[in-house]
Symmetry: C2
């Protein structure tokens, strides 16, 4: 340990790396869920002191955001159709389905919203497809933003469809006061159905029809 490190820099050799931290955090995430991903818990699993992590991540939210980036990196896109509209459908759906597997994700994005750098390639593809379909670059930016916001909201709502804890929403929808809210009372069945199934795919087509020149 008295030799200089291989990089020629002085001081103690690093035992930890950001990647090792993220790998350990990811393992805990998969096996025990997000609530278990704490600074202390990750440090324990690595056999280091909690404070050692702060050399490699800024803070806990930073750790979670970097974790989302890892998940985004693992997204695999199917072969993309040549036709722009079909390509957009494929990319967005892959993004949505991939992110929907992690119900804790919207909560983290609500605290520290950002797009993981790893999805930049997909974002580029989306812009290209919008332009190819006839939008100007400025229009493509606005179209991307609109669909992204919708996707985020859809992920958030979907994250809420936990079968165990019936949401307040359902409770209210189940038996709305027929005198004060006649339409909602009549629509209760349709509501239950709409919230039981995922309408992202169909909704996405509505959005693209509105955004693309016919």
């Amino acid at each position: 340990m008295s030799r200089a490190s291989p990089t020629g820099r002085p001081g103690r050799r690093a035992q930890l790396s950001r990647d090792a931290v993220l790998e350990a955090a990811d393992a805990i995430l998969r096996s025990e869920g997000v609530e278990a991903v704490t600074i202390r818990r990750v440090a324990e699993s690595l056999g280091v002191s909690p404070m050692a992590l702060y050399r490699h991540v800024a803070d806990k939210d930073d750790l979670l955001v970097l974790l989302i980036d890892r998940l985004a990196q693992r997204l695999r896109y199917p072969p993309l159709p040549a036709e722009p509209r079909a390509r957009l459908l494929t990319i967005w759906r892959t993004l949505y389905e991939g992110l929907a597997e992690h119900p804790w994700l919207p909560e983290v994005l609500a605290r520290r919203r950002m797009i993981a750098p790893s999805v930049l390639a997909a974002v580029e593809e989306i812009h290209a497809a919008f332009c190819e379909a006839g939008l100007s670059l400025e229009e493509a930016v606005l179209a991307y933003r609109l669909v992204w916001q919708f996707t985020l909201g859809a992920l958030l709502v979907r994250a809420g469809r936990t079968p165990d804890r019936p949401s307040v929403q359902e409770a209210v929808r189940g038996a709305p006061d027929a005198d004060r809210y006649p339409l909602l009372a009549r629509a209760a069945a349709a509501w239950r159905q709409a919230y039981g199934r995922d309408t992202y795919h169909a909704d996405l087509e509505v959005l693209l029809d509105a955004l693309l020149p016919r």
Copy 2:
């Protein structure tokens, strides 16, 4: 204290009420922000023990959700136009602007998503307007859901536009690698502009155009 309570029920007279708890929580929310709204802090401000609150709210998230309901109750809608499309614009915009004042809201909704019972009247109005514009009740339900998901996502993105901490998003958008992401590099300026201003109003018109029969 040995007399029966006015309600005729036995036992100690209630010192606290759900309303008193919410009022205290709301005051802390306004003066110190959401982070300060803790069970212990609210109890302290009421001069009771933390555990006393659990008789009136289920847990901390329940407290926050009830708080959102209070905020929704205070929303004031301007006079609604007779024409369905204009009415929809007015209601959604009022909802959006009102909720956008509370950047912490999407995070709570991400954990315990629900619609506050207080917005049911607005939801009923929205369904009525969609139907009046020519949609069936089932279509109205789906249209409502689509716009609500978009609104949630827009609120989430907007909550992120804190001027102090530049988001990762902006950092990446500021200088995307021109070789790998040529379109994003060219679009950087448009991106900054799009994320600098709020496009909810314009986007809402796009959505309504897509959803309403022409």
